[in-house]
């Protein structure tokens, strides 16, 4: 091992290696209710649109029909945007993860 971090579990299994792409929790929460056709921006320091970041979003009150995933979540510099196209208002749970 020339550099980096290795972590071994109690039974000797290497569970983090020097090449592991480690995920970290940045933020989580629930938005206020978003009306159909509207969006909310959530500010996250240093957030970018590249794949070093992931934002996982799920509606708290999806409708009981095929529209229940008609939402989008886009990452931008310093914030992400949730757009609600489900046909009904809903809040959204979100978790922001960083892997880079």
């Amino acid at each position: 091992m020339a550099y980096g971090l290795e972590v071994y579990a109690a039974n000797g299994t290497k569970i983090i290696s020097v090449s592991s792409r480690v995920s970290r929790s940045v933020a989580s929460g629930t938005t206020s209710s978003i009306n159909n056709g509207a969006y909310i921006d959530v500010a996250i320091t240093d957030l970018t649109a590249n794949d070093d970041w992931q934002v996982f979003v799920s509606a708290t009150s999806p409708p009981q029909n095929i529209n229940s995933k008609f939402q989008d979540c886009t990452r931008h510099s310093g914030y992400f945007r949730i757009t609600n196209n489900m046909g009904v208002a809903s809040a959204f749970d979100y978790v922001v993860v960083r892997t880079g």
Binding site: G4, S20, V22, R24, D51, F56, K69
Partner: protein
């Protein structure tokens, strides 16, 4: 950097950075669900992200998703894996850890409280490494009953039972077409193909899915998908090996 520690992996990606203050995400306890009502109703904290995979290679060709009809968690119906293994993706700073008096513990500024833990090595039994990510926006695929998808290839030298998908923001719906209505399926989900060592990340809507007249359309979404590889240490893994 005035104080603290920064660790990078061989690709130059951050592992831990005390200035950023981002706590390590790891894989929680594995549970097996065998029916719609138990995925992941039992043992789920209600807020943590869900990683899931089929319970065995016998479920090849089956989908994994959240079936969020009315906001309820459940397995999707026809065509879904009827048994699966799931874990929470948990942050160490939310687990009220009491680290041992040895080993590596890294805190962010603010003191040595459990909520400031960024990494506690002795409290790690299972890690979840991100191996692929993207958006549900593929336009590739055969169309028709086969739909549209991206392909992820599992490393053939590794245990396929350790590949999990991030299920929290996914969805499948199956409408059988009762009382003369047109049957359809919606896929914003993952399909496991253990025979060919693939995971398909699907995004399509198909009508008459089991007939020769199946017609599918791309359902492009801009939200993220993710595939993780779980490595176990202190507990026996529920894997395929």
């Amino acid at each position: 950097m005035a104080f603290g520690i920064q660790i990078y992996n061989t690709a130059g990606e951050t592992v831990i950075d005390t200035e950023r203050g981002e706590s390590l995400l790891y894989a929680g306890t594995a549970y097996t669900a065998t029916a719609n009502s138990t995925y992941p109703k039992n043992n789920w904290t209600g807020s943590k992200l869900i990683l899931a995979r089929p319970a065995s290679t016998g479920y090849t060709g089956k989908t994994i998703s959240r079936y969020s009809w009315g906001g309820k968690w459940a397995l999707a119906q026809t065509g879904a894996a009827a048994a699966l293994v799931w874990r929470e993706l948990r942050a160490q700073n939310e687990d009220q850890l009491t680290p041992a008096n040895y080993g590596l513990v890294i805190y962010k500024s603010g003191g040595a409280s459990s909520s400031n833990i960024l990494l506690s090595a002795t409290d790690l039994d299972a890690t979840a490494e991100l191996v692929a990510t993207g958006k549900f926006n593929s336009t590739s695929g055969p169309g028709g009953a086969g739909g549209y998808y991206q392909e992820f290839s599992m490393d053939g030298s590794l245990d396929p039972g350790r590949y999990y998908v991030l299920a929290t923001n996914t969805q499948s719906q199956y409408a059988p077409g009762v009382r003369g209505s047109t049957p359809y399926e919606l896929h914003l989900d993952y399909r496991f193909d253990y025979t060919n060592g693939k995971i398909l990340i699907q995004n399509y809507f198909v009508t008459n899915p089991t007939s020769s007249s199946a017609t599918s359309n791309v359902e492009s979404r801009s939200f993220d998908w993710a595939i993780f590889y779980v490595i176990n240490g202190g507990t026996l893994d529920n894997n395929f090996s």
